[in-house]
Point group: C2
Chain length 198, copies 2
DNA sequence: AAAATATCTATACAGTGTAAAGATACCGAC
DNA sequence: GTCGGTATCTTTACACTGTATAGATATTTT
């Protein structure tokens, strides 16, 4: 499936992977199609049989990055096996931490994923909600089920929590807030949602 | 100061203004230095006597955009002359609205202002806080003075509020949340800060 | 007035995305 | 199997980009 002949075999996914790698290293604005093609030992024009243009390839890479974030979040969740109240709280916090950590550890992928590429039209009431959204709602559901979050606040909590966590992640990333701001924010969120002690 | 001779007279600020205009229209990634120079009837190389490279010019344009946002916020604030409790609440909300409106009305300027250009190192406890920060803290101070916001929550409210508003603005801008999410967020924030009725 | 300096132009070069045409390998129909 | 069609890849070419270098022109200093 990856024999080096005239035909590559699976150039499409190879290009995508190459694009992700390059973006990861130097950022989306500085990756060149020719470099990605060069890495694969392939002519620059070859890409045009699999993607309409460079922008489309980067967009695909961006969606891959979104998926990587979701993977990381699920991994972070899976590492907390505690059940009950403490588990729900720990998972809630871990969700925020993994989000911010991804932004700081993979700044270029994070920027691509949430930049002007990868614009999802009307996501929240879309019929195919994004994985990140599903993960978040599940965590909030757990908080409600444990009696930690009042049901009447749940709906609007979705927007508040995602916005706040995404905001603090990007503001730290772009140097507008110091790294400690993340934990402060988590404290505030937990407190204001009424998730404090016990 | 702007006579069309061999020497332009004030090329530096003209370039900056031209850069802002072009970014506003097509986005930072698609502006070319040559186009900006062309608009001014000037050779492409001329810019290099005023900015080290294209990136520096865009960065300067980004800081100009940050200033435009602050202008817009102050303008929004100035239009609310009510004093007392209701005034404090209205100003708090107007601050959020103008932030989100700027993002939606000037998406390209907003992206540039908060993108990887214009990275301010360690902003929050910097000795020269940004105007946006000053404006926000003033609004929160007013809430405290009016007895609407408990003093013990003020400090962390700064981070929470800015993060949430910035987050919802970018998530709406990039199609991850619907436009109505902004008002929902303001409601949540007001409610959770204890700023509800009366 | 002459010399020094700042500002701008002209030219050139390497690198970019991508369109067009030709080469090569695969795949299904006979 | 063989043949033709098609998908895939290469070659070549073009317009465009940022920017380095060297020369022209105006301004400022002496």
């Amino acid at each position: 499936m990856s024999k080096p002949g005239y035909h590559h075999g699976d150039l499409e996914s190879a290009l995508l992977q190459g694009a992700v790698n390059r973006v990861r290293l130097v950022g989306a604005e500085k990756v060149s199609l020719r470099a990605i093609a060069g890495d694969l030992g392939v002519s620059p024009s070859a890409a045009y049989h699999h993607f309409p243009d460079k922008d489309a390839l980067l967009t695909a890479a961006g969606f891959a990055a979104i998926d990587k974030l979701a993977d990381q979040q699920e991994l972070a969740l899976s590492m907390i096996s505690v059940i009950g109240v403490h588990g729900a709280l720990a998972r809630f916090r871990a969700l925020g931490r993994s989000y911010v950590d991804f932004a700081l550890n993979e700044p270029h992928l994070f920027r691509l994923a949430f930049g002007e590429h990868c614009v999802i039209p009307d996501a929240i009431d879309s019929e195919a909600p994004t994985r990140a959204w599903t993960i978040l709602t599940a965590a909030l559901d757990e908080l409600v089920n444990e009696g930690l979050l009042k049901f009447e606040f749940r709906q609007k909590s979705e927007i508040l929590v995602w916005s706040a966590v995404h905001g603090v992640a990007t503001l730290i990333l772009e140097g507008k807030l110091p790294p400690e701001a993340a934990d402060d924010l988590f404290d505030s969120l937990a407190h204001m949602l009424g998730l404090d002690h016990e």
